[in-house]
Each structure stands twice: as structure tokens, then as C-alpha cells.
């Protein structure tokens, strides 16, 4: 209820501001909605949204699985940590734009280049988070598993993984928001479709209603994915914890 009220307030402020500065700079909500409906009925909205979502899904899965595995290894094995750390610092501090531009130069304006560039941007944060999680693992439970001769996979699944779950959830959440931002830049620079491409077109034409229509739809999709996928996963991973008051 409170959330709805807060959302309505946002709409009201937007509308008032639109009336104040004029439709060219900030179109009113109905004007934007009109463009959304037009783009949706022509099918363009879904095409671009689908292309973007597919890129997000691929790059996110790639970065999360690779990053989690590397992070776990670096948290467990000292040698891996010492060898990997300089690379990690370099990757962490490399601007997203540099990675995207280099990927397009080296691999051409291809889908693979775009996805790899997005994944590389997300990779180091996943590694860092999972490395911290692995370092924080409770040794006393490892010992318990070893004394009771639990097979490796069972110990990993029931002893290690639940301890890593909050770190995986945190890394998924921050990673998803990072990927959402970067995917648009990658599309703007070198893809012929996707929300980022459309925003680029709208920018060149100074077409604010179109720009807002695409970015707001995109934000809505992000919100839905967040509530439907990420939050339930977090709740399930934490269900054994006593609830906060």
C-alpha cells in the first residue's frame, strides 16, 4: 500500500514537472504511455527488449558461474589467490567502456564480443564476493563433515553451499544491476538491436518520449525480475535464520 502511494507520488511529481518545463524536454506520462503502446503493438518493443534480456541472461550466467568457481578456488587455495590477485585488481579497475571498445575492436561488432565484454565487466566483482564468502567458511563444520566421513559432494552441498548462498545472492544482485547498466552501453556502441540501440537512436533524434518509453519499460522488467527471481531466492536461502524484528 505504502509502496503504491510512493509510486503515485512519483507520477504526480513527474506530471507537474512536465507541465512546468514543457513537453519537448520532459513529456507527460500519457505521452510516454502512448509511445509505449505504439511500440508494443508494432512488436518493436518486445524485439528490442528480448534481445537485451537474452544478452543479459547469457552474460550474467557466464560471469556468475565462472566468477563463483574462480572465487571459490581463490578462497580455498592460497597459490591460486596469490597468482590471481594482480589480474583481479586489474580487471576490477578497468573501465567498462575500455573493455567494450577493445572487445569490439578485437572480435568485431559481433554478438560474442558484446556478451564477452559484459561478462568480463561483471566477472571480478563475482570473484571478489565469492572469495570473501569462501574465506569466511566455518572450519569447525568442515571438520565435522570430515570426521563423519561425508562424501565430498554431500559436504559441498549441505555444509559449504548454504554458507555461500548469501554471498551468491549478494553477488547476483549487485551483478545484475551492473549488467543492466553495461548491456545498454554495449548495445549503443555496437549492436543493431536492443534497448541500448533504441536509446541511441532516440538520442540522435532528440526523441525524449521514445527514450523514456524504452528506459521505463526496461526498468519495469528489471523490477519484475528482481521481485520474482532474486528476492524469493534470497528468502529461501535465509529461511533458517531467526527473523529480524
Amino acid at each position: 500500500m505504502l509502496r503504491l502511494l510512493s509510486f503515485a507520488l512519483l507520477l504526480v511529481i513527474w506530471w507537474v514537472a512536465a507541465l512546468a518545463v514543457g513537453g519537448a524536454k520532459l513529456p507527460s506520462p500519457p505521452a510516454v504511455l502512448q509511445v509505449m503502446i505504439a511500440e508494443a503493438s508494432s512488436g518493436a518493443l518486445f524485439l528490442h527488449l528480448g534481445a537485451t534480456l537474452a544478452r543479459v541472461a547469457l552474460a550474467f550466467t557466464l560471469a556468475m558461474s565462472l566468477g563463483s568457481a574462480i572465487g571459490y578456488l581463490m578462497g580455498r587455495v592460497k597459490l591460486a589467490d596469490r597468482l590471481g590477485d594482480p589480474w583481479l585488481i586489474l580487471l576490477l579497475n578497468l573501465p567498462a567502456l575500455v573493455v567494450i571498445v577493445l572487445a569490439y575492436i578485437w572480435a568485431g561488432l559481433t554478438e560474442a564480443a558484446a556478451i564477452a565484454a559484459i561478462a568480463i565487466n561483471k566477472l571480478p566483482t563475482a570473484i571478489v564476493t565469492l572469495r570473501e564468502g569462501t574465506r569466511a567458511l566455518d572450519r569447525s563444520l568442515d571438520e565435522m563433515a570430515s570426521v563423519f566421513a561425508m562424501p565430498r559432494w554431500r559436504a559441498f552441498r549441505h555444509v559449504v553451499l548454504p554458507q555461500l548462498a548469501p554471498y551468491i545472492a549478494a553477488s547476483a544482485r549487485s551483478g545484475l544491476s551492473l549488467v543492466w547498466k553495461i548491456v545498454l552501453v554495449a548495445e549503443l556502441l555496437g549492436r543493431p538491436n536492443g534497448v541500448g540501440f533504441e536509446i541511441g537512436v532516440a538520442f540522435q533524434l532528440f526523441d525524449t518520449p521514445r527514450l523514456l518509453a524504452y528506459s521505463l519499460t526496461f526498468a519495469a522488467v528489471v523490477l519484475v525480475i528482481e521481485t520474482v527471481l532474486v528476492q524469493p531466492f534470497e528468502a529461501r536461502a535465509n529461511r533458517w535464520r531467526p527473523r529480524a524484528a
Binding site: 569447525s140 563444520l141 571438520e143 565435522m144 570430515s146 570426521v147 563423519f148 566421513a149 561425508m150 554431500r154 549441505h158 555444509v159 548454504p162 533458517w240 535464520r241 531467526p242
Partner: protein, 233 residues
């Protein structure tokens, strides 16, 4: 089955760089059906000795002979349950072969029936310790190691749990190693008592108890205690 412990020494390097001797030469053996008790002052190195016997610490001088197929049941000082798994899952994960009948029996003896689906975070320390006991017994161990399983419990509960441990130990042939600093627990449960010195630990005296466990009444226990006190002085 037989457990032979022959540790010739264990040193530990502290963060400051010095080396400390934790264990002096320690040698003893344990047969199936026997309860050995390690009694010593806090910090004398009992837990270190257990970690070596359990194969968690390989950095020591000496030799441990333990049948490789021996199943181990362990009750740690802290319960060490998985907080994200229910009481029943905690037991089943350690003992996947346990039958429903055996599990019900254990939960009945330890009065855990009402807590099967609870998470460890919802249990009191006394209950959590009982779950740890249930887990150790569910694996039907050949070697049962109990590291101060009754510490920090009130006398009534400790007494009841002690009786339960005695019942469970009597129910099958198992080598049991109990660590405690309570002489009372040691005399009530043990067949052989090993008195340890302060750090670095060595065995000061090995005292067998001749009277079978089930025949030890209050009078016999008082007599054994008096005898120990006489020997010590």
C-alpha cells in the same frame, strides 16, 4: 577393533614466532567395548590430542593405529550442527544409512521427538547437545569420541544425559573415548581413566575401574573417589 595411540610429541608455532610444546609423549590403547576417559586441567592439550586421533591434525610426531574401516561418531565441545538443516536432516546427513526405526528410537531416548523438524537456531544448548549425541550414535560408530559433552549443562540434565550415554554405549560394542574434567562423570562412565598433566600433556596415571558400569551405585562411586584421593595424596 583396537585403537592405538602413540604420540611422541606435538609442537605448535605461535603467531609471535615461538614454538610451544603442546603434547609430551602419550601412549595408550583402547579395545572395543571399553570406555577410556581423558581427565586433565583445562588447556592441557586434550582437544589437540583428539584432533590428532580423529585424523584432523597430521602435524605431529608419532603414530595412530585405527582400523581404516572404523566408523567415527563424534560429539564436539560445541554441538557443531548445520544451522540451515533441520534436526532430522542433521542426523541423516551424517548417518545416511540410519533406519527410521533406529532414528525414532534415538529421538525417543534423547527426548527429541518434538524437535525433529526444528532448526538448530531454535533449540536450547541442552537440546542441541542431545542432537549432537543423536548424530554421533546414529552412525553406529566403532569409535565414539565425546569431547566434554556435558559441559555447561545443569546438574539434573547432565545426570540424565550421562545415563543416556551409558545406555547407548552398553547397547553395542564400541571404543569410546571421553574427555572431561569432571571426576564424577569419569567414574560413572569410564572403564579406564587416564589422568593428564598440565601442558604439555602426558599421562600421569592410568586407573582401571574394576566394577562393571551397571553395578556402580552411589556407595561404589564414593569408594572409588576416596581411593583416588588417597592415591593422589
Amino acid at each position: 577393533m583396537r585403537l592405538e595411540v602413540d604420540i611422541t610429541g606435538k609442537t605448535f608455532r605461535s603467531a609471535a614466532g615461538g614454538t610451544h610444546e603442546v603434547l609430551a609423549p602419550v601412549k595408550f590403547a583402547l579395545q572395543s567395548g571399553e570406555v577410556g576417559v581423558l581427565i586433565g586441567p583445562s588447556g592441557c592439550g586434550k582437544s589437540t590430542m583428539l584432533r590428532i586421533i580423529l585424523g584432523l591434525d597430521h602435524d605431529f610426531a608419532g603414530h595412530i593405529a585405527r582400523p581404516p574401516e572404523a566408523r567415527i561418531g563424534m560429539v564436539f565441545q560445541e554441538p557443531r550442527l548445520l544451522p540451515w538443516r533441520s534436526v532430522e536432516q542433521n542426523v541423516r546427513l551424517a548417518a545416511p544409512e540410519v533406519t527410521e526405526a533406529k532414528l525414532s528410537e534415538l529421538f525417543r531416548i534423547l527426548e527429541l521427538e518434538a524437535h525433529r523438524s526444528h532448526f538448530p537456531g531454535e533449540l536450547s544448548l541442552g537440546l542441541a547437545r542431545r542432537v549432537a549425541l543423536a548424530r554421533a550414535f546414529a552412525v553406529e560408530p566403532d569409535l565414539l569420541v565425546l569431547d566434554e559433552p556435558l559441559a555447561s549443562l545443569d546438574d539434573a540434565l547432565a545426570g540424565r544425559l550421562r545415563d543416556e550415554i551409558a545406555t547407548l554405549v552398553a547397547s553395542r560394542p564400541v571404543m569410546t573415548l571421553l574427555v572431561t574434567h569432571s571426576l564424577d562423570d569419569a567414574i560413572r562412565l569410564g572403564d579406564r581413566l587416564f589422568f593428564l598433566s598440565p601442558r604439555p600433556a602426558r599421562i600421569l596415571a592410568e586407573v582401571p575401574i574394576g566394577i562393571p558400569r551397571e553395578e556402580r551405585g552411589e556407595a561404589e562411586i564414593a569408594a572409588i573417589k576416596a581411593g583416588l584421593a588417597r592415591d593422589a595424596s
